[in-house]
Amino acid sequence: MMLLSRFWYVLISILLGVSLYAVYVAVGQYNRRNGVAMNEGLASDSQTVGWALQIDARRRLDLLLPGSVDPTVRASLGAANGKDTDKIPQKARDDAKRALGDIQGKFVDYKPDAIFAVDRDGRVIAQVGFEQVNSNGEFELGGYPAVFDALHGYLRDDTWVWGGKIYRVVSRPVEDDSTQPPVGAIVAIRAVDPQFAKDLAKRARTNIAFYAGNQRVAMASYEGSGEKFDDAAFELLAADLPKLVDDKIYKDSGRSDVHALSPDVGAMYARLPGDAWDLGAGFSVLRPRVSIKGPLGFLSGADDTDKKSVNWFVLAAVVLLGATLGILFSFLEHSLPMGELAAQARKLRKGELDYFQLPRFRGGYRPIAQDVNQGIERVLERGGGAARKPADLESILGPVPAQPAMSAFSFPLPDGSVPPQMSPGGPGGPPPSPFRPPGPPQPNPGTGSHQMRPQGPPQNGPGNFGHQMQQQQQQHHGGHMGPPGPPPRPNAGPNAGPNPFPPPRPNAGMPATSPFAQTTALGGPPSSPGAQHHQQHPADAYEPTQAALSPLQGGVPGLHTPAEEDEATMVGQVPADVLAAATGESARAAEDGTEEWLGVYDDFIRKKRECGEPTEGLTFEKFAQTLRKNRDALMQRHGCKRVRFAVYVKEGRASLKATPIKD
């Protein structure tokens, strides 16, 4: 049936299906978790960048302190705040410019791009770093809230957008007299350029882009994570920035939800504080979303580091184990029985076997072999072969030689001759089975095929039914190959032992044959060599179940009830002279407790005569001797206390039925 192999295939298929399911689920879960992680990462990045900008503003504000207390700057601003509100002294401008240059040069970190000195009216009296207004005397800064606050005594930061460029601004008041308002303010600006973005991206460890008015201003990717962010993803912002106008969360809270720029890139926007808040300026943090398209995506997306984490030993062990089990199962369930079939077929072809040995087959090969065996038998029957008969005592107990010296059932005829059919080795013996070449038996316990080999006269002497029965049992068990028969099914009665008489198998209706059925006449001539010489059916001989269920050969003790007559052990024909001789042995029979056999003997003689069978030479002594040996064999075999014999007629012939009785 190849159950193991099929189970293995099913198991492999189930495992494959489960693996695929797990991989699909893993892909979905991986992508979902990555999406969540990306969202959380973007929120964290956005917050981090906001904090970094705060820190940046704080540092710039603090570093501007020296400029706010610079004496030259204070003096210049004081001079600019004179009574003449329309003219700023040139000296004040020049001094302030030099002072601002010195101040800017002292910056090591957070160096501003430009520094302005603003008088109380908001006019720029000097600046460094913003060359566009060098010749512009009208340039002012006083209208910006940051400068306005500084002129009123506040430190502040701001974000301006000048001409599409973003500037981070810090301003401080410049005080000359604590009893007076500040004389002016000092303002430092830092353009948000790629370098600024790069520094910020490095501090915040993220990819960042600044934008103003739906236009990207500066961007930088973080390269410290080992995976280079594709700068082309920044191009996706151009198409997404206009959508911020409709983003209510962004407009209200200043920070958007995650925008999917593409299936692989997410972005989160945040507005910059300051004037830029109302000018649509802000920053965006971007993160790649690592997603897997399908189960194979795990392989295509893996790098050498990922592959190094594979436990190749376990993987190889699993593959090896799976392959080994698969090969083993196919060997056990296919190659092995196929080889057995082939081997037996070769033996069959060579004549070493007459039938397939069914016990050596398993699964689907056994019914095939059984069919072949039945086919062989059918061919034989069609060609005049032996018909199957019910198993009688001889078929169970073994061959009964015609010679008295050979068998208890071989009763010498009054004339001292031996029935030809009872002398297997003699000239008058029954013709050999067409499947049995003449010759002595060749016991081959190891193969279990000896029962099919030519069976000459038993070598263990006459009356050795125990050995014969044992040998017969070995034959039924396939020699010594197999273990004893399976345990009998429990009997219906509570005190009953295991029932050795299970219902017959489906083909049990066919008359069982035995090699000993060739001597069915037990001194009488065979009715027909072809018809009377029964050969034990191979199916019966090799079917372990059948052998185990046989009451006498199964090696299983049990009771035999009359209702199971068909399954009861039957004794075939007993020569009448044996019965006659037995009549003189009543005393011995009484000693053996076999007085009841006298009645059996009488019944047997009567039945034989009624059936027209010869009874010459069948003495009671021989009859009792045969029954005794059978009884002993049965008692030894089944552990019963006694054996009851009964006479009945079957198929026109007197027969004996032995019933083991335990109590």
Partner: protein, 248 residues
């Protein structure tokens, strides 16, 4: 061009122009001093100082600046416009009145002018501006590149116009049109101002953030100059009671 001149010269020229136009006798400068300007806080800066305005991340007072100096009062020179309102209709001023765009605002931020006067907004910043009049369908936002200007002709009938800049939220300027405006002046840091008026009776009005914050009557004699004895007190008008609020 008039804005490039000192205030006294500007006032003189303006008075002369009015004299020529109206035929009135030039009496001389009228000097005065405003008071209470430190309490006038521009709306845009007051709003920007609020934490929820998202205009800053750091804003803290300097510990060395006294609290009275930390009041976000407007700059009189830029924010407070003192206008002399005549009893006679005044002609349009020529040439166009120049308004500078720089520093996140316009200079001046508030102006009162007579009908028909043209205003020229000139950009003194090195980057463009986009000025527009709030709620106006005719003077919408247009880009004013550096050193370029854009004119605005005051419509007849008077009114108040608020000028804003799309690119600079801190820019909020106010134009007050009154056909009786004879002269305007912007006080200096000390609050002093000077108007050149012909003889006659005038009403001085101070405008701040587009609102009237002070009114004073003045009569100009034939002989000048005239100096106002009392300071011109400025104060925000009390806010109108909220609908349904009990009267005080």
């Amino acid at each position: 061009m008039i804005r490039h001149l000192p205030s006294i010269q500007r006032s003189t020229l303006l008075a002369f122009a009015i004299l020529v136009a109206t035929g009135a006798a030039f009496a001389g400068p009228v000097r005065g001093r405003i008071n209470g300007q430190e309490k006038l806080v521009p709306d845009v800066y007051a709003e920007a100082a609020k934490p929820d305005a998202h205009r800053y991340t750091w804003r803290e007072p300097s510990p060395t600046v006294k609290p009275e100096f930390r009041v976000l009062s407007g700059n009189p020179l830029r924010e407070i416009c003192v206008a002399a309102i005549s009893q006679q209709q005044q002609p349009a001023h020529e040439p166009a009145h120049l308004i500078k765009i720089t520093g996140g605002r316009t200079v001046p931020a508030t102006i009162a002018i007579s009908n028909g006067t043209r205003l020229a907004f000139k950009n003194f910043d090195p980057f463009p501006h986009r000025l527009y009049i709030k709620d106006s369908q005719t003077w919408r936002a247009e880009t004013i590149n550096p050193n370029m200007q854009r004119e605005f002709s005051l419509p007849a009938g008077g009114g108040k116009f608020e000028v804003r800049d799309e690119l600079f939220p801190s820019l909020r300027s106010f134009i007050l049109v009154d056909q009786f405006v004879a002269d305007i002046a912007y006080p200096g840091r000390d609050g002093a101002f000077e108007l050149n008026l012909s003889s006659g009776e005038y009403v001085l009005k101070a405008f701040f953030n587009g609102r009237l914050v002070g009114t004073s009557a003045v009569t100009v004699k034939d002989k000048g100059p005239f100096t106002m004895k009392d300071p011109f007190n400025l104060a925000e008008a009390p806010a109108p009671p909220a609908p349904g609020a009990p009267p005080k």
